[in-house]
Symmetry: C2
Subunit: 449 residues, 2 copies
C-alpha cells in the first residue's frame, strides 16, 4: 500500500503541495501550511496491526525504526528513503513516574515525559530529524539546496546544528548580537554551524532569515516549516504507547510559539482517526505570566486574540508575545476541551526547585508547566484521581547557571523558598558527623510533613 | 529457582558477606570486595532463555524491568523486592552509529555508547540505582541507615543526589572548598543533598568520608562500594544486546579510578560464562597523559604499578594518580587482551571538537577515548574492518563552558585546530547571503577532503 502526505493550507485554501517542494506558506492566503496524510490509505491497515507494528519496532535495532519518530514512519513522512533519514535515535524518552512529587501534589498518577533526555537535550530533536531528512531526500532528488537556516537563540539552533552535522550539510544560525549566553551558543558552534551574530534583536533575525530564504537554495528551519510538526506529534503517540495504548486524562504542556501543542493534538487526532484510541485527553497549556497572550485570550473564551509585548522571563524559550502557531493552537485547545493557566516567575522557579528535590532536574519551561499543574489541582480543574502527563521540554543541564543562581539567592526578584546552599566546614569528621545528624533530623520532618 | 549473590574478597580471602551488610572491605586483608553470583543457579536457565527474557523486558513498561539495569535484575541483585527499587529508567542509552566520524577515521563500523544521555547525564546512574535500591531494601529489612554519603566533585554526587531524592532518603556530598565549579555543584544542591564544602583537598574529603562511614548508619557510596559495579556492568550486556547479541571487536573506554573498565569486563565474563556469547572483545583503556599511571604500567607489561601525582587535565573526572580499582582493572585488561593508550590535552580537546563537527556533543573524557582510538587506528592496533564501540561517559552539556572556551580560543595551552567562532554582521540580508555562500563553499571543500 502506498501511503502519501502533502502540504495544504491550514485555512482550507485549495492546493496540495509536495513535501519536497520548498514552500512554507499558502500561496493563496499567506497563512501556514500543514501536512495532510492520506488517512484512507492508512486505514487499510487495522488499528491492531498498527499497534503491533509500532510495538515491534519500539527501541529495536533495525535502522531507523528504533527511533521514536521513525518507528512511526508511515504516519510521519511515508515516502522517504531510509538511507536519507538522519536519525540519532531520537524520541522514546523516559516517561518518568513522578512518585514523590505526585504524592506531594496529591496527584499520585503523575508522569513527566522527559523530552530533554535526548540527543541535543530538548524535544526539538523530534521535529528536526524530519526536516533534515526531508532536505536530504530533496537533495538526493536533485533539488538544489545549499544550506538550512534558522533564527534561534536556543534549542532549535542546537538541534539544527547537530542534525545537519550528522548529515554533512551546512547549517546557518542567526542570532541577535550580545543577547545570547555562551550556554546557548555552544551547541551550534561545536556542531560546526555558521553562527551569524547580527546587530539587531530577535525579531530582526527572524526578518532576515525569512528574507534570505526567499532564495530557495537556503531552506528555512524555523517552526513555520510544518515538517517539524510531523516529528513532534510522535510525542503523543509515544506517551500512549508507553501506557500500553491507554490515553491519560490530562497532558500539561508549556507554550510559547504554540507549535508544540498543535503537534501534540495532531498526534492524538491521528490515533483516534485510525482507531488506536477512542478518547482524547484534556490539554492544559501553561504560559509564563510575563508572556501570556494565550492565557488572556482563554479568559475571553478565545473570542479574540491580542499579541502582546512579552516581558523577560526565566522561561526564555517561551518569551513570545505574538506566537506564530496561535490559530492552530486555539483550535487544538477547543477540540481537546483545554484550559490555559499561567505561572509567575516566583511560582515557576519554586516549582522547578520542588520537583528537583524529588530527583528531577528540569528546564524552567517545565517549571511553568508544573506550577500551572499545581494551580489547576488546587482549583480542582485537575482531579487527584486523574492520570496526568507533564511534557518536560528540555534538559536542566542547559540551565545550570539559572538553577545555581536560584539556590544562591541571586535571581533578581525571586525569594527562593526551596533553596539549598553548601555548608562550609573544617575537614573534621566530628563536625561533619554532627552536620549530617542535623540534616537527617530536618529531612525526617520534611518528609513526614 | 532462587538466584543469589554475595560479597567476597577480590584476593580470594575466605568469607561470604550478605549484600545487605554494611561492609566495604575484606576483614582479612583490607582489600576491596566484589559481588559473586551463584552462577550454577543462573545456568539452570539456558542462554537462549536469558536472551528471550532480556529482549522481552527491553524498554518495556512493566516496572522496573524497562530499565537497562533492572531488565537484567537476576544478574544484578536477584533478591531485591521490586518495591524497593529506585529506578529512573536508566540504561538502554543510545548506541549511536558514528557514520561521518567513522568515515573520517576510516573505521566505518564505529559506534558511540552515549551513556551521558541519561537521567543525571552520566553513566554513574547505572551503578547508583543499584546502590540506592539496596540501601532501601536494607532499611526495609530493619537496618538503621540515616544517610548515604560520598566524596565527589561531579557525576557521582549528581547521581547520588538524584536517586536519594527520588527515594526520599538523605544524601550527603563532601567537596573540597573553592575547588568545585557551579556546574558541578548544582545537581546535588538542586536535588536537596546536604553539600558540605570542606576546608581541604579532594583526598582530604575522601579521608573524612571513610572516617565518618565507620558509623554504619552513614552508608558509603564511593566506588570502593562494589554494589555500583553490578549496575555498571550492564553496559556490556546492553551493547551486545543492541547488536542483536553480537560481540564487537573492540571497546574503547576512558579510565581514572578504573572501576568502570572492571565493571565492563564483569559484564562480558558473565555473558560468556552463561553462554550468551562465545568470544570476548578486546578493550582499549584511554588515559589523559597528565593522569596516566596505568599507561605507564602497560609500557612495562603491567609488571609493576606506581601511583603518580596526577596533573590538572580538562578530563577532570579521570584526574586520578592512584586509582582505587587498579588491581581489578589490570586483571580485566590482561583477560581481554587489552591495551592502554593516552591523549594529551591538545589531542583530547581537538578530538572532542572533531566529533562534535559530526553531530555529537561529548564530555572531555570521551575526547580522551576518541583521541586514543585515532592513535590506535594509526598504529594499526585497531583495524579499519573491525567493529569498535567507544564508551561516552557523560553529557557534553556538563562541560558547556569548557567547550565554549575551546571555540573562543580561551583554553590555556591549547591551540584550537577545529574552532568555530560566531561571525558578526549587520542585519543586512545581502551580507548574510554572501556569508552563507562563503560558508557553503568552505564546507564543500571540508566534506570532500
Amino acid at each position: 500500500m502506498a501511503y502519501n502526505a502533502w502540504f495544504s493550507c491550514i485555512n482550507g485554501c485549495p492546493g496540495e503541495f509536495d513535501l519536497r517542494e520548498v514552500i512554507y506558506r499558502c500561496p493563496t492566503c499567506g497563512d501556514l501550511l500543514e501536512v495532510q496524510h492520506d488517512v484512507e490509505a492508512l486505514k487499510s491497515r487495522s488499528a491492531a496491526a498498527w499497534i503491533q507494528l509500532f510495538d515491534d519496532r519500539y527501541r529495536r535495532n533495525t535502522y531507523p525504526y528504533g527511533s521514536g519518530v521513525w518507528g512511526k514512519k508511515e504516519w510521519v513522512v511515508p515516502f522517504i528513503d531510509n538511507e536519507n533519514i538522519v536519525s540519532m535515535y531520537e524520541g522514546n524518552s523516559n516517561l518518568l513516574w513522578a512518585d514523590r512529587f505526585g504524592k506531594q501534589l496529591r496527584v499520585e498518577d503523575l508522569w513527566i515525559k522527559q523530552c530533554g533526555n535526548s540527543h541535543t537535550g530538548s524535544f526539538k530533536d523530534l521535529g528536526m530529524t524530519v526536516l533534515v531528512s526531508v532536505v536530504r531526500q530533496m537533495i538526493a532528488g536533485g533539488v538544489l539546496i545549499d544550506a538550512v537556516a534558522c533564527a534561534s537563540t536556543g534549542d532549535t539552533s542546537a538541534a539544527l546544528g547537530a542534525y545537519c552535522a550528522a548529515a554533512g550539510m551546512p547549517a546557518v544560525v542567526l542570532l541577535p548580537k550580545d543577547k545570547v549566553s555562551i550556554a546557548q551558543l555552544v551547541q551550534p558552534l561545536a556542531n560546526g554551524a555558521l553562527v551569524l551574530s547580527l546587530d539587531t534583536d530577535f525579531d530582526g533575525c527572524m526578518a532576515v532569515v525569512q528574507e534570505i530564504t526567499k532564495d530557495k537554495r537556503i531552506y528555512l528551519a524555523n517552526s513555520m516549516n510544518s515538517l517539524r510538526i510531523e516529528g513532534q506529534k510522535t510525542v503523543a503517540i509515544e506517551i500512549v504507547q508507553q501506557f500500553d495504548w491507554e490515553v491519560p486524562d490530562w497532558i500539561v504542556i508549556p507554550g510559547g510559539n504554540l507549535g508544540n501543542v498543535h503537534a501534540l493534538g495532531q498526534g492524538f487526532v491521528m490515533m483516534r482517526e485510525l482507531g488506536l484510541i477512542n478518547k482524547l485527553p484534556r490539554i492544559a497549556l501553561a504560559q509564563a505570566q510575563r508572556a501570556n497572550p494565550l492565557y488572556r485570550s482563554f479568559q475571553e473564551d478565545f473570542k479574540t486574540f491580542e499579541p502582546i509585548v512579552a516581558q523577560p522571563t526565566l522561561a526564555t524559550a517561551i518569551q513570545i508575545g505574538n506566537p506564530v502557531s496561535v490559530k492552530r493552537a486555539i483550535r487544538t485547545l477547543q477540540h481537546f476541551n483545554g484550559v490555559v493557566e499561567q505561572a509567575t516567575e516566583q511560582e515557576l522557579a519554586d516549582e522547578a526547585a520542588r520537583a528537583d528535590r524529588t530527583g528531577m532536574f528540569n528546564c524552567p519551561h517545565t517549571g511553568v508547566a508544573l506550577a500551572a499543574l499545581r494551580k489547576l489541582v488546587e482549583r480542582k480543574v485537575i482531579r487527584s484521581s486523574e492520570r496526568v502527563v507533564v511534557i518536560s521540554t528540555a534538559n536542566g543541564l542547559k540551565f545550570a547557571e539559572q538553577k545555581a543562581a536560584y539556590h544562591m539567592g541571586a535571581l533578581e526578584g525571586i525569594k527562593p523558598s526551596h533553596r539549598n546552599k553548601p555548608v562550609e566546614l573544617p575537614a573534621d569528621p566530628k563536625r561533619v558527623t554532627r552536620a549530617i545528624a542535623r540534616h537527617v533530623e530536618k529531612f525526617k520532618l520534611l518528609v513526614s510533613s
